[in-house]
Amino acid sequence: MKQYQCIVCGYFYDENLGDPEHGIAAGTRWQDVPGDWSCPDCGVAKSDFEMVELA
């Protein structure tokens, strides 16, 4: 499974959970998250996220 972590605040984007509060449905793949989505915790851009592989 892949997760994406905000390099600024550590927030995890989990594809299984999405970010429904901000219009990203559960199950939305990272590449389908719109480019203007921003970190719900600190506001930085999607490009400030890095992929982390979780076992």
Binding site: I7, V8, C9, G10, H22, G23, D36, D41, C42, G43, V44, A45, D48
Partner: protein, 387 residues
């Protein structure tokens, strides 16, 4: 001359410049000097960590050794820079001299200390880094009555976090302004925000300027001098001050660099000395100090390119600030400071939507509280760029 880039400060600004620079070039020697332990943490998380039950150790995202290895930099922790000698391209530090080719100032800002009178003034805390947070969390143990000085962004966030953290806490917030978030929200939005926070348990004492704190048998007594003869007093077990930040300009000023409210830099983040750049909470970019995460990321990206030999001006899109108060969602995109205009506020039961319109009737800023925050993305896209 040494080719080394020296960065003073291991906060978000210093570390992000190093990270962005490494995306462009791996070879250039980089030294990061920091007065603190050099660990990377998320500062915005400090005002949301109590309710999440997080200790300072749990807030650390990357320990110093791992950070240095990841970035391919030399990290000199617990090392304070005492003087900058621009003519010699040299720093004097607590651990000896350090030469540089290019210098990056990322020293952050100091919490403003109110000139409080009284024998309890020394016990007033502030939280501006991970070590402060550790001390604060420890000081909270066994306390229940908490006073916060300042109803700005950070004061309100801590107030909300404390109430969410424990039923034993009573939280009172003091501010000389007539409303919370006085610098950010127009009146109706502020009134809505205030009601929501009050419903969550925050007690606001507005138009109340605390100017004296006295010891009172283990507790602290806060006094509002303007109330006349100190009649209005409040007691607290612990006082947290959150009245704002002042950019760390001392070293730059002593080195003869141009300093305003922050260290003055142009759009390439160059100071009055072309070999010294500044960014983050210590910097005043084209006249504006913007002590927030998103501007720092923009600055770091541009500066990394400049340091790699490709002079690049910083670009600021509109950068709304989210207030992290779960009791009342709020997001503000402040209008440019020098533009005249009016706030137009639309309130309903679920929230307030405020647009700041310039003389031509164009919306150039907004404030959304409650349910209205849904419009953040759509409105942001319509805002003019800041720089």
């Amino acid at each position: 001359m040494s080719e080394t880039i020296v960065i003073i400060g291991s906060g978000l600004a210093g570390i992000t410049v190093a990270r962005e620079l490494r995306r462009i070039e791996r070879e250039r020697p980089v030294v990061v000097v920091s007065a603190d332990d050099g660990g990377f943490y998320s500062k915005p998380g400090l005002s949301n960590a109590l309710a999440a039950g997080k200790s300072a150790a749990q807030l650390l995202l990357t320990p110093p050794a791992q950070l240095a290895a990841q970035l391919g930099v030399e990290l000199r922790a617990h090392t304070r820079v005492e003087r900058i000698l621009p003519a010699e391209h040299l720093l004097q530090t607590g651990a000896g001299p350090l030469p540089y080719r290019k210098l990056v100032l990322a020293m952050g800002a100091h919490p403003i200390r109110l000139p409080l009178r009284g024998d309890g003034a020394g016990r007033v805390l502030s939280v501006n880094n991970l070590a402060d947070y550790a001390a604060f969390r420890c000081a909270l143990d066994g306390k229940s009555r908490l006073a916060i000085l300042g109803a700005g962004l950070i004061g309100c966030e801590f107030a909300n976090d404390l109430l969410a953290a424990g039923a034993e806490f009573e939280v009172e917030v003091f501010d000389p302004a007539p409303q919370p978030l006085g610098r950010l929200l127009p009146p109706k939005a502020a009134a809505f925000f205030r009601e929501r926070l009050e419903a969550a348990g925050v007690r606001f004492h507005l138009a109340t300027g605390i100017d004296e704190v006295r010891e009172d048998g283990g507790r602290l007594r806060l006094m509002d001098g303007r109330a006349g003869a100190h009649t209005a007093t409040h007691t607290a077990d612990l006082v947290l001050s959150a009245v704002g930040l002042s950019p760390a300009v001392e070293l730059a000023r002593a080195a003869g660099l141009a300093v305003g409210r922050g260290i003055r830099v142009d759009r390439t983040l160059a100071s009055s000395d072309p070999d010294i750049h500044a960014l983050g909470d210590c910097a005043e970019v084209e006249g504006r100090v913007l002590p927030f995460v998103v501007p720092i990321m923009q600055q770091a990206r541009a500066l990394a390119k400049t340091l790699a030999g490709n002079p690049t001006e910083v670009v600021y899109p509109a950068m709304p600030v989210v207030v992290k108060t779960p009791a009342c969602a709020a997001v503000v995109c402040p209008p440019p400071p020098d533009v005249h205009g009016v706030w137009r506020e639309q309130a309903d039961a679920g929230g307030v939507r405020a647009l700041f319109e310039d003389a031509a009737g164009t919306a150039i800023g907004f404030a959304l509280v409650g349910g209205a925050v849904r419009e953040k993305q759509a409105l942001s896209a319509k805002m003019p760029a800041w720089l």
